[in-house]
Amino acid sequence: MTRSDAVMIEARGVEKWYPNGFHALRGVDLTVEQGEVVVIMGPSGSGKSTFLRTFNALEDFQKGSISVDGITLSDDLRHIDAIRREVGMVFQQFNLFPHLTVLDNLTLAPVLVRKLPKADVQRRALALLERVGIAEQAHKYPGQLSGGQQQRVAIARSLCMEPRILLFDEPTSALDPEMVHEVLEVMQALARDGMTMVVVTHEVRFARQVAHRVVLMDAGVVVESAPPEQFFTDPQHERSRQFLSQIS
């Protein structure tokens, strides 16, 4: 695996208050390098999903700074759209477009946003579906697929925009246990190909095998950030030990 030192995501002192006054992020720092796979873990309500969603401006924040692939997030809509073109996102609930076929789910954004010729995009989409193992479902509607298949379509849909970074927001939490594996396999293959990934998940095995770094968040701050072998065997902080004892 080759990892260059180019910084893909740089978050500094990010703070967020919800409109009801809840202080969700209390100064979070994170640097993600190109080709790095970072797994964010933490108890529910720790702000990990919220933090992930600030990277492509699905959530706003009030203090601190985030830059993605050299573009600084600001209120400027052009910056936000530019970042969203480079950052793919995979959701817990898949969020496929139910009124479009699988193939159209993949081609919609590249055709509309990147203005690529439809035939070219379709060819690439079919190749991607092949890669995630569901090429034969291309003309079905999302409602006709299993959860695992839907999540693999969602990953292929993100990849079809040729993003430089992929964000995963608990991608396996809504899946039946026997389908978790097929999705994790696809993610593992992506990591092997050098995709920069930030993954919010509870899958310890995935974190151990694939992540370069595991980040534990709690109550809106980063508690610990360490390589997986160190994080799981010799955590430095009491809160990490407590968390690990709860999930194992």
Partner: protein, 411 residues
């Protein structure tokens, strides 16, 4: 022959009747009472319709009911429009069958279509006769019905051969036909002008209804989006508008429209009385459509918009390609319900002195020659409105099925 395997015995009709109507003694009593009541009402109605009612009030005024005081020498334009409408209907109908969206085998004449065709033929034969129309006019109705069915048959037969690039433009014949129809009805472009005050009857009713339905829909969608917008001015403007219009009875708005537009705009600029009413109807219905669409928008999970936005789609494209197609399908039944009440609300136009169907009916009933024939007139009116609303309702249900991705197996 081998041993007889147990088979499902389908009960015969007499057995089924017995089970459904006379399962127990009490069921039997209820059934007998209801059947008796239905037969009595049916016989009474049949006796009145066939014996007592005098239908001359309808047949003598059929032209008035159809088009009002539209000048006789210009009525060929309406015939031409009806012919074009029949052709477009037949063509679209046939094409819908030629390109079935559901995975069901493409059948060119499903049972419902045979029924519809049979009803059309019966109507074409019976109606002109019942109205005692002159023979040339009867012939015209037969010809128009024949054309419709011919177009239906031809499009169903050869529609699949039309190349996809040309097929995409076919739906455009409807807006085009609407514009052509407007010119044909009102004149201009070399045709003699027929003032809106001369339009009447079913023509005026349908014209008002289609005009308001077509315009209130996009307006309602914009209002619904405005109500959910992040821009406070847009949001509060939409809320204010919707709540004001929904808080006022249509009839007051119609009177208000007739007066206020006259005050606001200098004499020549204010639209004609008929168009003023049409705009009021449009703006009125838009508020209700907005609420229907809003319920559709609320039914779409926030994740859909988030997914579209995180794929880089700008807001307008995310709405057009992802959110609205789903929201409008959810809102379709409520929206069509709104269209149906809009169609019926056109009867209020008679109260501000326009000669729509009800207005025409009132002038006819005021004619001493037809005194006391109110029941006949109102029954015909009710049936006419019922037909229009039933058509809207059936169309909406068909559209719902066609747009439902979960009923659509893979190609």
């Amino acid at each position: 022959m081998g041993p007889v395997s147990p088979v499902m015995v389908r009960p015969g009709p007499s057995q089924r009747l017995r089970r459904e109507l006379f399962a127990s003694r009490f069921d039997g009593l209820i059934s007998i009472a209801l059947i008796g009541g239905l037969v009595a009402v049916g016989l009474g109605l049949a006796k009145w319709v066939l014996v007592q009612a005098q239908w001359t009030v309808i047949s003598a005024n059929s032209t008035l009911f159809a088009v009002g005081r539209y000048p006789l020498e210009q009525q060929w334009r309406l015939w031409l429009l009806t012919t074009l409408l029949a052709l477009a209907t037949g063509l679209s109908w046939g094409l819908l069958r030629a390109f079935p969206r559901s995975g069901a085998p493409a059948r060119s004449w499903p049972r419902n279509d045979r029924w519809a065709a049979a009803i059309l033929v019966v109507l074409a034969l019976w109606r002109p006769m019942a109205l005692q129309l002159a023979l040339p006019i009867q012939l015209r109705w037969w010809a128009i019905t024949g054309l419709l069915l011919l177009a239906r048959w031809a499009a169903g037969r050869w529609g699949a051969a039309i190349p996809a690039s040309a097929r995409r433009w076919i739906p455009l014949i409807w807006p085009l036909l609407y514009l052509v129809g407007m010119v044909l009805i009102s004149g201009g472009l070399g045709l003699v002008r027929v003032a809106p005050s001369d339009w009447g009857g079913l023509l005026l009713t349908l014209l008002m209804a289609t005009f308001s339905i077509l315009l209130c829909f996009p307006l309602g969608v914009l209002l619904a989006l405005g109500r959910r917008s992040n821009l406070p001015l847009l949001r509060w403007g939409s809320v204010l508008y919707i709540e004001f219009v929904r808080g006022a009875p249509l009839i007051t708005l119609l009177f208000l429209g007739q007066n206020i537009l006259g005050f606001l705009l200098p004499g020549g600029l204010a639209p004609d009385r008929v168009w003023r009413a049409a705009w009021v109807l449009t703006f009125f219905a838009a508020a209700y459509v907005a609420e229907a669409v809003r319920s559709g928008l609320a039914a779409i999970p926030a994740g859909q918009l988030e997914a579209a936005r995180s794929l880089g789609l700008p807001m307008p494209q995310a709405l057009i390609h992802v959110v609205l197609p789903q929201a409008l399908r959810v809102a379709l039944p409520a929206t069509v319900g709104q269209f149906i009440s809009l169609l019926q609300d056109t009867t209020l136009l008679s109260l501000i002195g326009l000669l729509d169907l009800l207005g025409t009916a009132r002038t006819v009933m005021a004619n001493p020659a037809f005194l006391g024939r109110n029941a006949e007139v109102y029954l015909v009116l009710a049936v006419l409105f019922w037909c229009c609303c039933a058509a809207l309702g059936l169309g909406s249900r068909a559209l719902e099925t066609r747009l439902n991705p979960n009923l659509t197996p893979s190609r």
